[in-house]
């Protein structure tokens, strides 16, 4: 097997239980509802040394896929191989082959220092202290945490914790990294540092295979060699970022920021000739500012009619711009909704 990660019709259901109703409800068992299909027949082939993105909104099945690959969940159907090992039958070999990094602040011991956290996990991966200690120093330098290495983690900022998470996943030098929303909740500067580290150090310099989940379009666009768009547990499209966007090249995209946007305006905009899709999202609820995204066959013909419709409806236009399709547009086109919906 030449791929670092391969899944064949990987499927995971989660049982659901309904509420108890009626008199003596405490005696009744909760009704079983139809299981939710969290991951549905997912086929992935991720070559070695590539940076592969799983892109989708919250609840799309990204984290469940990562957990299946990391042996934290068992698949209900299908199979998955990581570094050539079966995730069910060879779980320990899979665990030794992967480093996993999750977003957020949990997963570290706050009463230990950064260095002690890393040494603890190194031991649990079977790395001897004489090998682990120099590696820890090297990794701390890599993410610019060496000055704070001996402070307790409870004193770290969120960005520092996230950097520590990242190198914790690298402590046993695994060939494959599973990064689950690695920049979730970080400020823009910290996110940029993490992204550069992932692309430049981990993929380019160290040759790691990386599977990254994100719901940040720009992150996927900037980092990934290949992307699979996932929604409701299914892969609905895949390819390089440019391949995905090229399918959208036939459309022009108009972005309009306006206040006083009504339902009627959106309905009327959809009836304008050449308009394929109109989506709205609130930018500033206090100011009533809304972004309208229009996919049209011909922006030059659509724009005058659209402006006139808006003026008639009483909307006040703040900004109009024509842009190239982004991955966000690809996602809207594929699913009919925005990533952050």
């Amino acid at each position: 097997m030449t791929n670092a990660i391969e899944t064949v019709q990987l499927t995971k259901f989660f049982e659901r239980k309904g509420e108890k109703h009626g008199r003596f409800s405490w005696l009744k068992r909760k009704a079983r509802l139809k299981p939710i299909s969290a991951v549905d027949n997912v086929n992935l082939s991720i070559p070695k040394n590539s940076l592969f993105g799983l892109l989708g909104p919250n609840g799309a099945g990204k984290t469940t896929t990562i957990k299946l690959l990391a042996t934290l969940l068992l698949p209900d159907m299908g199979a998955a191989y990581v570094n050539g090992y079966n995730v069910v039958k060879e779980a320990n070999e899979v665990r030794s082959s992967i480093g996993i990094v999750t977003g957020g602040e949990r997963g570290l011991y706050w009463r230990l220092t950064g260095r002690e956290n890393l040494l603890f996990f190194a031991r649990l991966y079977g790395v001897r202290d004489d090998k682990a200690k120099p590696r820890i120093t090297e990794l701390l330098k890599l993410v610019e945490l060496e000055d704070r290495a001996d402070d307790n983690v409870e004193k770290y900022s969120r960005g520092m914790k996230q950097r520590l998470h990242l190198i914790r996943g690298l402590i046993h030098d695994p060939p494959i990294l599973l990064l689950d929303e690695p920049t979730l909740g970080l400020d823009p500067n910290s996110a940029v540092v993490i992204r550069e580290f992932i692309k430049d150090k981990l993929q380019r310099e160290q040759g790691k295979t990386i599977l990254l989940t994100t719901h940040y379009m720009e992150e996927a666009d900037q980092l990934c060699d290949q992307i699979a768009v996932i929604d409701h547990g299914r892969v609905i499209s895949s390819g390089t970022p440019s391949e995905l966007k090229s399918g959208m090249q036939k459309f022009d995209v108009l972005r309009i920021n306006a206040t006083g946007v009504s339902e009627d305006l959106i309905s009327n905009a959809r009836r304008i000739e050449g308009v394929e899709e109109v989506k709205i999202s609130v930018i500033d609820s206090v100011a009533g500012l809304t972004e309208i995204l229009v996919h049209t066959w011909n922006a030059e013909e659509t724009l005058p009619q659209l402006t006139e419709t808006m003026v008639k409806s009483g909307a006040r236009v703040r900004l109009i711009e024509q842009s190239k399709p982004s991955l966000e547009d690809v996602f809207i086109n594929l699913t009919g909704r925005r990533l952050r919906d």
């Binding site: 570290l108 230990l112 079977g126």
Partner: protein, 277 residues
């Protein structure tokens, strides 16, 4: 099984526990204060009714126990260590889940049983001062003199009891993790064991039905073995009746605990339940 990995895991978990234990002075202070009132409570519940010599005579004539305060001191130490296991090792996995670190542990290739054994060992180390501290205190306040006939027998009884207590911790950990209320479960398991295992009085003083329950507890045999060796001049030969059931119960607890833990992990991987907190 990779022996080097298991050793490193054992070392890692033990050192981490100890570092966390000493990182808060309040937890050390609480550990020092906690045995004192418990010891006093156990002793003065007798002395409120009769003098030391009167109590000693009754215990000797009815149950063959030579030292009244020695009996209580041994029982108190084992009970303190048992509590340490309940709250330390028993509640450990639930605490890891609550802190959001359980996934990080389960992602490593280390044996879960090794992690739990290390957690038990570090809990014993944290409570080890009690053995020395409570004896010193008993000598200073109650004038207790140990009556040791065979030091090897003392060491064997002590080590066997500690291993049994670790097994108790592993057993409870595997069951506590089924729920989110480890602290309440631990609390509910304190009093029955204190009552039935003869911490502050001989098990033989209990009604027959409770004696039966008491003889199903490893704590009972640990206390009996230590009493025999520390205050009754007991030798290895006399220990067999306590050590054999202690070993059997230790093996059962470890095997059942490990099996339950494995099944639980499998179930959690099927339905994702271990991470829902």
């Amino acid at each position: 099984m990779n022996p080097e990995l298991e050793w490193l895991t054992f070392k890692g978990v033990t050192l981490r526990h100890l570092k966390e234990f000493v990182s808060y002075r309040a937890s050390i202070l609480a550990t020092i204060i906690w045995p004192l009132p418990l010891l006093a409570l156990n002793v003065y519940q007798y002395l409120g009714l009769a003098s030391t010599s009167q109590v000693g005579q009754i215990l000797y004539s009815k149950y063959g126990i030579a030292s009244f305060s020695g009996m209580i001191i041994v029982g108190t130490i084992v009970y303190l260590l048992y509590n340490r296991m309940l709250w330390g090792t028993g509640a450990w996995l639930v605490e890891e889940r609550f802190n959001g670190t359980i996934e990080s542990l389960l992602l490593t290739p280390s044996s879960r049983l090794t992690m739990l054994l290390a957690s038990g060992f570090s809990s014993l180390v944290e409570g080890a001062w009690w053995i020395v501290g409570v004896f010193l205190l008993s000598w200073a306040i109650f004038g207790v003199q140990p009556a040791i006939g065979d030091w090897v027998a003392v060491v064997i009884a002590l080590v066997s009891t500690m291993i049994a207590l670790v097994a108790v911790g592993v057993f409870f950990a595997s069951f506590f993790v089924l729920t989110r209320i480890a602290d309440q479960l631990a609390t509910s398991l304190q009093a029955p064991v204190r009552y039935a295992s003869g911490v502050a009085f001989p098990v033989a003083a209990l009604p027959a039905i409770f004696q039966l329950f008491g003889y199903m507890l490893p704590v009972t045999y640990g206390i009996a073995a230590l009493r025999t060796t520390v205050i009754q001049h007991g030798t290895l030969v006399g220990l067999a009746t306590d050590l054999i059931p202690l070993f059997v119960l230790t093996a059962i607890l470890l095997i059942v605990g490990d099996l339950v833990l494995k099944r639980l992990e499998l179930k959690a991987k099927k339905d994702g339940s271990l991470y829902k907190i």
